[in-house]
């Protein structure tokens, strides 16, 4: 059969990530963030930066009379405006995705930040301890723009091939360990999402993937269809930014959630 030989002709297509670095991921922007060496912006520049962000990801916080700028990765849709207009202050985050146990931990301040990963592992330890070698994921689209699903589907393609990592997708919520949610959490998906969650046997790890699912992104956060992210409907354990979350970001999120990321990568992730 001709297909069999065709499958072998092009050699190894599959990434060696996370065991080894992957050049494509290293180049790929997963969010904007504040530069650690950023010079202080003038007050009016701070306001300008905050106003130019289409999702309100950039905020001016004031504490003890000092104002500072923060950037919420969970809201960033990577439009690039801040990086283009204030290149000394904002930069792309590449080669890694900040995965967090609470949405607030996605906020970049430019300063060295306490690593949330330890906290994440402690919180999830009870949930993932009994997972076998294989984990099963049920995906629910709670009001995406459709791009998120393409990226989730891509995990099965030969380049990412998550089966090699023991990750599988399942149609039945009853056999799933992980609930992966994409989309803004649109009003109409409230009940279907809840019902899927309830049909899953405990313990369940819930991942909100992409800015839409984390915060409502650009298409949520207001209006009659709501859309404040998955966390406004069900409890979320792991937050993965991105717009949409790329296949690498999804892999990083899933492996972090089940505590199977090689430790070398965990260390790299300590920075802002």
């Amino acid at each position: 059969m001709a297909w069999v030989t065709r499958g072998m002709r092009d050699g190894r297509l599959t990434t060696r990530w996370p065991a080894q670095k992957d050049g494509y991921y290293d180049e790929f922007a997963t969010s904007a963030r504040l530069r650690s060496d950023a010079p202080a912006l003038a007050d009016d520049e701070k306001e300008t930066a905050a106003a130019l962000c289409p999702t309100g990801a950039i905020a001016v916080a004031s504490q003890n009379g000092e104002t500072s700028v923060t950037l919420d990765r969970g809201r960033c849709v990577l439009c690039g405006r801040c990086v283009r207009l204030f290149p000394d202050t904002f930069e792309w985050e590449t080669g890694t995705t900040r995965v967090a146990s609470e949405a607030a931990a996605l906020i970049s301040t430019g300063a060295e930040q306490a690593d949330d990963l330890k906290h994440l592992r402690e919180t999830l330890a009870g949930k993932v301890r009994n997972l076998g070698r294989s984990v099963f994921i049920r995906h629910v689209d709670a009001g995406s723009d459709g791009s998120d699903e393409w990226e989730v589907q891509a995990l099965a393609n030969p380049v990412y091939d998550v089966h090699r990592l023991g990750i599988f997708f399942t149609a039945s919520p009853r056999h799933a360990d992980i609930l992966l949610v994409t989309g803004i959490g649109a009003a109409g998906m409230t009940e279907p999402l809840r019902r899927t969650r309830e049909a899953m046997p405990e313990p369940v790890v819930v991942i909100a993937a992409g800015a839409d699912a984390v915060s409502g992104g650009l298409m949520g956060r207001s209006g009659y269809t709501g859309g404040f992210g998955a966390g406004s409907i069900i409890d979320v354990d792991v937050w993965v930014p991105g717009a949409p979350a790329s296949p690498f970001a999804l892999m990083e999120g899933i492996l972090t959630a089940i505590d199977r990321l090689p430790s070398r990568r965990r260390e790299r992730r300590g920075r802002t």
């Binding site: 499958g7 791009s147 997708f169 998906m189 009940e191 009659y224």
Partner: protein
């Protein structure tokens, strides 16, 4: 650029005249392309969009409240079948009632009775969406009839949508489509936004066709400002749009192969699709080509060397071509595609089907040929878009394979011209007139024509009608199931290539 002279606008004196004028235009051969409502102080303005070979007609009327405060107009659907879903959508969003419509059920959103409608075009509206969906209507009555709901949470990794299959067993006598679950209120998301923010929203109306939506939106804005897109930007827009087409068509091929149980073919097509998406991201930083198109032009030159991009594309296309040839010789694949999900030409014409779905049923319309924008008129297009007769899943796939070949030719030619083009400007300034301005714009998405009608008030978006080909085509989806067995569903669904976000809006 959408040249302003290719749009003709007129206003009908009253709703009855409006309906008879639309009916007459369609009878005389115009293609019905959309209908939407805009809230005005004294009622709801209805706008119908009709396409002729090389231009659009925009027809408007004002529907004013009757003695009961209700908004009524004579339905178009009895004479213009393609208006069927649009009238339901306009009822959902703007509260206009199409008198004589065969079934004015909710389509896009279930509104909680006591609250108002979203009323696109009105600055403030209070609306509440009901969180529970009642069980679907049962249209077919008979003994042993049962309803199988497919969705809204699908059995694989898919967008949420519900199909209610009402069946006496193996055959599918009736199919109800309920896309409302993932309704995001897209129309209202545009309102109050700046022109620059608008393109970001457009990219998210139907994320798998981000570039096509960004283009149609930008063309509308450029039409109202008179901006002329610089040559390099025109060429780059073609590059991004055609790569998006290749990725989408490969996605369809992948899903068909998967439905047929061909594991190697599935992963080959998935790999090719990934390769195209990586090429896009190496060019512009985003796998979906987002933030590459801006009103007036493009964000900048690609970060990848043009010769390298051409080399990469040639290699991908060569692999695609060979695998496509093999797929179309694989009996276990073809057996499932041939004769499946037939949309006969006359039915397709009545629904005014767009894109590969229309072209596989001998409908010739393709914006790139008929109403070329950007650099399409300067590039080596074949004499006509690929057209087939059979109207089945196989024909839809064959049309897509030929389009992939055409896309590769276009991208390579555009890359070559980019290299030689001396004018380095990337983006024209958008100057909008004060007060209210209106523009329409279009582009040929992988799914078919995307059409935007944008109204701005002092450079702020007041109303944006974002019509995907997915919405338009899905209305005819139930047509192709007569007599087909249940197991064909996955093939037929994949062959439509629908982006459900663009349907639910």
């Amino acid at each position: 650029m959408s040249a302003p002279q290719s749009v003709r606008t007129s206003t009908a004196t009253d709703p009855a005249a409006f309906t008879s004028q639309v009916n007459a235009l369609v009878r005389d051969g115009s293609r019905f392309a959309g209908l939407y409502g805009t809230a005005r102080r004294d009622g709801c303005e209805l706008t119908a969009l009709l396409a002729d070979t090389d231009r659009f007609t925009v027809l408007r009327t004002l529907v004013t409240p009757d003695a009961h405060g209700e908004l009524h107009f004579p339905s178009l659907t009895p004479h213009v079948l393609a208006a069927f879903w649009y009238e339901r959508a306009a009822h959902d969003l703007s509260g206009v009632v199409a008198d004589g419509h065969p079934r004015l059920d909710p389509l896009l959103v279930l509104i909680d009775g006591e609250y108002g409608r979203p009323h696109p075009g009105r600055a403030h509206s209070s609306t509440s969406v009901s969180l529970r969906t009642p069980p679907g209507p049962v249209d077919v009555h008979g003994r042993g009839m049962f309803t199988i709901p497919l969705g809204p949470v699908r059995s694989g990794v898919f967008e949420s949508v519900e199909f209610l299959i009402e069946t006496p067993g193996e055959d599918i006598p009736h199919l109800n489509i309920r896309p409302h679950y993932k309704h995001r209120g897209v129309a209202k998301r545009f309102e109050g936004r700046s022109i620059d923010d608008g393109v970001l929203i457009a990219e998210r109306v139907e994320g798998i066709a981000s570039v096509a939506h960004a283009l149609a939106y930008s063309h509308a804005v450029e039409a109202m400002s008179g901006a002329v897109v610089p040559p390099k930007a025109r060429l780059l827009r073609v590059v991004y749009a055609e790569l998006e087409r290749m990725a989408n068509h490969l996605d369809v091929a992948m899903r068909l192969a998967e439905a047929a149980g061909l594991a190697v073919a599935t992963s080959r097509f998935a790999w090719h699709k990934e390769s195209v998406m990586r090429l896009v991201s190496e060019l512009c930083g985003n796998r979906f080509g987002r933030s590459a198109v801006v009103p007036g032009g493009v964000a900048g030159m690609p970060s990848l060397d043009l010769a390298a991009a051409a080399r990469a594309l040639r290699a991908i296309h060569e692999r695609v071509r060979r695998d496509a040839a093999l797929a179309m010789k694989t009996p276990s694949f073809l057996d499932r595609l041939r004769g499946t999900g037939i949309l006969p030409h006359d039915r397709a014409a009545e629904w005014a089907s767009l894109g590969p779905v229309g072209r596989a049923s001998r409908l010739e319309d393709d914006c790139r040929w008929r109403r070329p924008t950007d650099a399409y008129a300067e590039l080596p297009l074949a004499t006509a878009p690929p057209i087939l007769d059979a109207g089945d899943v196989q024909a839809r796939m064959l049309v897509r394979w030929r389009e992939i070949d055409q896309s590769a030719v276009l991208v390579l030619a555009a890359l070559q011209r980019l290299d030689r083009e001396p004018d380095d400007s990337m983006c024209a300034t958008i100057d909008l007139p004060e007060g209210e301005a209106f523009g329409i714009g279009w582009s040929e998405a992988p799914q078919g024509e995307v059409l935007y009608a944008v109204t701005v008030q002092d450079s702020i978006i007041r109303r944006c009608f974002a019509r995907s080909a997915s919405l338009h085509n899905l209305a005819a989806f139930h047509e192709v199931f007569r007599g087909d067995v249940f197991t064909d569903f996955a093939f037929i669904e994949a062959s439509f290539g629908t982006g459900y976000a663009g349907v639910a809006m």
